[in-house]
């Protein structure tokens, strides 16, 4: 992709001049690598800025070029996965880059997600944690149509309360993460 391609895309999308300037200030290889991703996926300015922030920060931290980061297998495979629509491809790529940017947060989130799966409450009872794990609370959601169903779900929740996996989730949220990170 050429500088002109980037300029044209930026104009077509109505990007702020600062965003374009920042993009073009990158090494040509890096700018082109992002363009190879952004143009086919029609990434909007807010998402693009998130990606630029994260990519620059990963590059500084890992001593890699942005082109090298974007060439990683999971990202390049997601970008061309024929089973996914454009929107899903972008979601997956953004998530992969987020995981690279926040590796320890992602590891804790994975560990919590694994414990939630092990509790086998889904889909009747949904457990989730806040974005970025801020607040340190486990969210519990369920819906009941009858008193019987309510009692069944409550009983399952009470049983889950005694399971070690549930305790581990709260431990992770409370900072017991040395083994994970």
């Amino acid at each position: 992709m050429t500088e002109q391609d980037i300029r044209d895309y930026s104009t077509a999308k109505g990007f702020h001049p600062q965003t374009l300037k920042r993009w073009l200030n990158w090494q040509a290889d890096d700018a082109s690598a992002l363009a190879h991703l952004a143009l086919p996926l029609k990434i909007n300015e807010n998402h693009l800025r998130d990606l630029m922030d994260w990519l620059e920060e990963i590059a500084v931290r890992d001593g890699q070029s942005i082109r090298q980061i974007l060439a990683r297998r999971l990202i390049s495979e997601s970008a061309t996965d024929p089973r996914l629509g454009r929107s899903d491809r972008f979601k997956r790529i953004k998530e992969e880059i987020r995981r690279l940017r926040f590796p320890r947060l992602a590891a804790v989130e994975d560990a919590i997600r694994a414990r939630i799966v092990d509790l086998k409450l889904y889909p009747k009872i949904r457990l989730s944690v806040p974005s970025g794990l801020e607040g340190g609370r486990l969210r519990i959601e369920f819906a009941a149509a009858t008193r019987t169903e309510f009692k069944q779900l409550s009983t399952r929740l009470l049983e889950a309360g005694d399971k070690q996996k549930l305790g581990e989730i709260f431990d992770f949220l409370a900072g017991e993460i040395d083994e994970i990170i």
Binding site: Q18, K21, D53, E56, E57, I58, V60, R61, R101, F102, P103, R104, L105, V108, S131, G132, L133, E134, G135, G136, R137, F172, L173, A174, G175, E176, I177, D178, I181
Partner: protein, 364 residues
């Protein structure tokens, strides 16, 4: 510590009668003075090609402050508040920490200013303190400037401390990263002034706190203040996480307590690095490539970015462990943290800001 020598001092009409002007004249005799009717507004970060914020630190304005001097510390939405008040006698700071929130907060008005109308400051403060004698005020001067970095030149505290120490319902905290304490040592603080230092390991000071005093200079200054009768406090804030941070921070704590008797400390505070998305934009421009931008910070409900909660809880717990090993009963509080984090770190959270404020005020 880098000594401060501005390129120019701009004096607004009416400020040349103040004691601060006389001090500046005497203490910076080689610096050119320019007199203006009014100080013009100067933009800071409008242009990315020009570091307006950095440039603003090289010109000192002596001007009258037209707004309120004494304010309640805004704290941060939803976080435990320590019931702190602030008096602003200057704006901006001659030092240049890469994480400094003033880069964003004063982005549109970055002039390095010292306020000449000290009488107004004292009068306004006096009205509030007299009106509320039943309340105890903890007042700091280090919100939008460093409390001591300009003191060798302005002599501001030589004007303020004698007033504050006579008030029965106030404790004055001077928070600094400098070692500029010489002029304080001859003033009787009557145990009503807390000299406080922001502390970081020397490696962090070298990386991120340009123009500030070294760790050993800060400790030496603290020791001298202690000997002169000042109460002391340390703020381990902002704690910065990086590979090997544990060894550096643990060593720093050992160094601090090897030099300063912990029994003499009024309080310690802990806080992790806090930024905002817009501050990061400024930092990216002014300190491109700084590793501080790559920390695992997430957006919190108050709009600030902090290390994700379990990670910062780990950091706080380790710091508390290292501190408690040497100083088992020293008062420690968290700055701008939620009740959940307090609970996870200490096993309790203050019930209200009054409780925390009172605990801190009457300690030591």
């Amino acid at each position: 510590m880098k000594s401060f020598r501005p390129d120019e001092i701009v004096v607004e009409q009416g400020s040349e009668c103040s004691p601060i002007y006389r001090n500046l004249r005497r203490r910076l005799p080689d610096v050119p003075f320019r007199f203006v009717e009014r100080t013009a507004h100067q933009d800071g970060n409008g242009s990315t090609a020009y570091d307006g914020f950095g440039a603003a630190k090289r010109k000192l304005y002596l001007t009258r402050h037209k707004g309120e001097f004494l304010k309640k510390c805004p704290g941060s939405d939803g976080q435990v508040c320590c019931n702190y008040f602030i008096v602003n006698f200057a704006s901006n700071c001659p030092m240049d920490c890469s994480y400094c929130y003033l880069q964003e907060y004063l982005g549109d008005n970055p002039q390095l200013k010292v306020f000449s109308n000290v009488d107004d400051l004292i009068e306004e403060t006096d009205q509030t303190l007299r009106k509320h004698r039943a309340l105890f005020f903890r007042v700091g001067t280090g919100e939008i400037t460093d409390s001591l970095a300009l003191e060798p030149y302005t002599g501001m505290l030589g004007e303020l401390i004698p007033y504050f120490v006579e008030q029965p319902n106030v404790l004055l905290e001077l928070k600094t990263k400098s070692a500029c304490v010489d002029s304080l040592l001859g003033i009787d603080s009557k145990r009503r002034v807390v000299a406080a230092w922001s502390m970081n390991p020397q490696r962090v000071i070298d990386w991120h706190e340009a123009g500030t005093a070294s760790l050993s200079e800060r400790l030496d200054a603290a020791r001298r203040c202690q000997e002169a009768g000042y109460r002391l406090a340390f703020h381990f804030d902002p704690m910065i996480e990086y590979p090997g941070w544990e060894a550096d921070y643990e060593e720093m704590i050992e160094t601090v307590f090897a030099n300063i008797s912990w029994q003499s400390l009024s309080w310690l505070s802990l806080g992790v690095l806090r930024t905002t998305p817009s501050l990061k934009r400024v930092m990216r421009e002014r300190f491109f490539g700084s590793a501080i931008l790559s920390g695992e910070q997430v957006l919190c409900p108050d709009g600030k970015l902090r290390y994700f909660q379990p990670l910062r809880v780990v950091m706080y717990r380790k710091m508390v462990t290292w501190i408690r090993r040497i100083a088992p009963t020293v008062k420690i509080y968290l700055c701008m943290e939620s009740k959940e984090v307090w609970q996870q770190v200490f096993g309790f959270a203050p019930s209200c800001e009054k409780e925390l404020g009172n605990q801190i005020s009457y300690f030591g």
